[in-house]
Amino acid sequence: MSESPEKRLFRDPAALAAGVVLGAIVAGAILAPWLAPHDPYATSRQALLPPMWELRGKPSFPLGTDGQGRDLLSRLLFGTRITLMIGLVSVTLGGALGMAVGMLAAFYRRLDAPLMRLVDVVLSFPAILFGLAFSAVFGAGLTPVVAALVIATVPDTARITRGVALGIARQDYMEGGRAIGLGDLTLLRRYLARNCLPSVFVFLTLRFGQVVLLGAGLSFLGLGVRPPTAELGMMASQGRDFLFLAPHVATIPSLAIFVIVLAANLLGDALRDALDPRLRS
C-alpha cells in the first residue's frame, strides 16, 4: 500500500520497456549529428538501396536509401528530431496555456463561465480542421502545424486543470496562504500550479502520442514541414511513390512513428495508473 508511485511504475514491465525504448529514441534524436553515418540531405547515385540485411543491401547504408539516394538511417535520426520536437513544443505550449486558462477559471469564479464557454467552442472543432485552416491561410510549414496542435491541446488541458484546481482551491492551505497576506499571483503560482502539475503532466503524457500522430499526419499530407527537411510523416509520404520497388522507404519511417507513439501511450497509461490510485485495478 505504502509503495511509492515510482516503484509501482518500474514494476510494470510494459512501462519499463516503453520508458527504455522512448529514452533510446530521444537519445538517438539528440545525438543525431554524431550518430548519423551520412549527411541526411546528401544525395547519392545509389537510389532505393534496400536495408543491409537484404540481398542487394550495403553495410554503408544500414537501412538503405530513399528515392534520391539519401541515407535512410541518417534521415530517420534527423527526422525523429523534428517529429519529437513538434510534439514536445506543441504539448508544452498548449499544456501551459491550457493550464493557465483552467487555473484562472477555478481561481477567479467570475471568469469561469466565459472562459469555459470559449473552451467549449474551441473544443467543437476537431484538431485536423485547425491544421487545414492554418495551412490554407499561411501556407504549408512548421509554424501552422505547431499552432494547430497547440490550439488543439488547450481546451482539454483547461478542462482537466479546472477540475483539479477547483478541488485544490477549497483546501485549507489556500485559505492559510491568503491569511498570511500572499498575493493572488503567489497563491496561483506557488499553491495552485504546483498542485495541479502532476495531474496535468499525466494528461499531457497521454496526449503526446496523439499530438505526434496528428503532426505526422499533417506532414504526410504535405501541409507540414517543407522538403528537403527530414520529418517522419513526410518521409513516409515520399516513400509512397516506391511502394512497389522499395517498400522500406515508406515502411521504416511509418514504423518509427508507430514505435514512438506506442511507447508514449504505454508510458502514459502506466503513469496514470501509478499516480492516480483511483484508476488502478
Partner: protein, 313 residues
C-alpha cells in the same frame, strides 16, 4: 425529449456562428490582401481590383461580414480558381463519397469494437483481455497512413487482390464495394482501438453495479447478464465517447481519402490547400466543421434516446 432537442439545437447556434465567423476570418487573417488571396497568386492587378470592388473590401468589416453571411446563406461560396466550377457544386460532388467511406468504416469497426471490448471486460485480467487490449493500444498508436500503406503494399500491389485507387461507383455495385474495402479497413482499424477500450471500461463499470448482482442472483445465464444488463447499459457512455471521437475519425478520413485518391471532402480540402485554391479550401473547411457539429448533435440525440431517464427530465 422534444425540449431537450430544442435546447440542444439552440445551443448549436453560437457554434454555427463560430463556423461562419471562422470562414470569414480565414480570409481576413490571411497575410496580404484578401482579394489577392482569393484571386490566386498568378492573377493580374486588374482582376484583384475587380474582386476587391466585388467583395466590398472598401466597406467597414462588419458590413463585409454581413454581406459574407448573406452570400453563404444563399449558398454562394464562390468559384474554384482552378476548375472554375462553383464551390457549392464541387462540395456537392465530394460529400457523397465521404459519407460512403464513413459508413463503410463504421459498419464494421463499431460492432467489432463493441464485441472485443465486451469480451475483454468479461475476461478481465486473462489472456483474451490482455491480447485485445494490446491490439487496441497498437491500433490507437498506429498512424492511419501506416495501416493504409501496408494494406496497399500487401493486398493492392503484391497480391493484386483489391483496387486501391479511387472510387468504383455507388456502394451497391460490386466495383463500388471492392474499391471502398481497403480505405474502409484502414480507417476502421484506427477507430477500432478507441471503441474497444471505451467499451471495456464502460462494461466493467456496469458489471460492478447492483442491478447486475441482482440479475446474477436471480439465476440469469452469464450471457444474459453480460448482454442484457451489462452491454446494454454500457452503450450510453460508449455512444457519447464515440461521438467525442468523431474529430479523430474526421482526421483519419482526410488522410485516408488522400492516400486512396478517394474523391471526398478531405481529399478536396488537401488538394485545394496545396494548390492555393482558396475558395475551395474555405468551403471544405466549413463543410467539415458543419458535419462535425451535426455528428455531435446526432450523438446527443441518440444519447437521450438510449437513456430513458433523460427523456422525462
Amino acid at each position: 425529449m422534444t425540449r431537450q432537442i430544442t435546447h440542444r439545437l439552440l445551443l448549436s447556434i453560437p457554434v454555427l456562428l463560430g463556423v461562419l465567423l471562422l470562414g470569414f476570418l480565414l480570409l481576413q487573417l490571411a497575410p496580404g490582401d484578401p482579394a489577392a488571396v482569393l484571386a490566386g497568386p498568378s492573377a493580374s492587378p486588374d482582376l484583384v481590383a475587380a474582386i476587391r470592388r466585388d467583395m466590398g473590401l472598401d466597406q467597414p468589416v462588419w458590413v463585409q461580414f454581413l454581406r459574407y453571411l448573406g452570400r453563404v446563406l444563399r449558398g454562394d461560396l464562390g468559384r474554384s480558381l482552378i476548375s472554375n466550377k462553383t464551390v457549392a457544386s464541387e462540395l456537392g460532388n465530394a460529400i457523397g463519397p465521404t459519407i460512403e467511406l464513413m459508413l463503410a468504416c463504421l459498419v464494421w469497426s463499431i460492432p467489432l469494437g463493441l464485441t472485443l471490448g465486451t469480451l475483454a471486460a468479461v475476461r478481465r485480467g486473462r489472456l483474451a483481455d490482455r491480447a485485445i487490449m494490446a491490439v487496441a493500444v497498437a491500433g490507437v498508436s498506429m498512424p492511419v497512413f501506416t495501416v493504409a500503406l501496408v494494406l496497399i503494399e500487401l493486398l493492392g500491389v503484391k497480391f493484386r487482390l483489391l483496387p486501391f485507387i479511387g472510387r468504383g461507383g455507388p456502394l451497391w455495385t460490386v466495383d463500388g464495394l471492392l474499391h471502398v474495402t481497403l480505405p474502409a479497413v484502414a480507417l476502421g482499424f484506427v477507430f477500432l482501438g478507441p471503441v474497444a477500450r471505451m467499451t471495456r471500461a464502460a462494461v466493467l463499470d456496469v458489471l460492478g453495479a447492483d442491478h447486475v448482482r441482482t440479475a446474477r442472483a436471480k439465476g440469469l445465464t452469464e450471457r444474459a447478464v453480460v448482454l442484457r444488463h451489462g452491454l446494454r447499459n454500457a452503450l450510453v457512455p460508449v455512444v457519447t465517447l464515440i461521438g467525442l471521437q468523431a474529430g479523430y475519425l474526421l482526421g483519419g478520413a482526410v488522410i485516408t481519402e488522400t492516400i486512396f485518391a478517394w474523391p471526398g471532402i478531405g481529399r478536396l480540402a488537401v488538394g485545394a490547400i496545396l494548390a492555393n485554391d482558396f475558395p475551395i479550401a474555405q468551403g471544405t473547411i466549413m463543410v467539415l466543421s458543419l458535419s462535425f457539429i451535426l455528428i455531435n448533435l446526432l450523438v446527443d440525440m441518440l444519447y437521450v434516446w438510449l437513456d430513458p431517464r433523460l427523456r422525462v427530465a
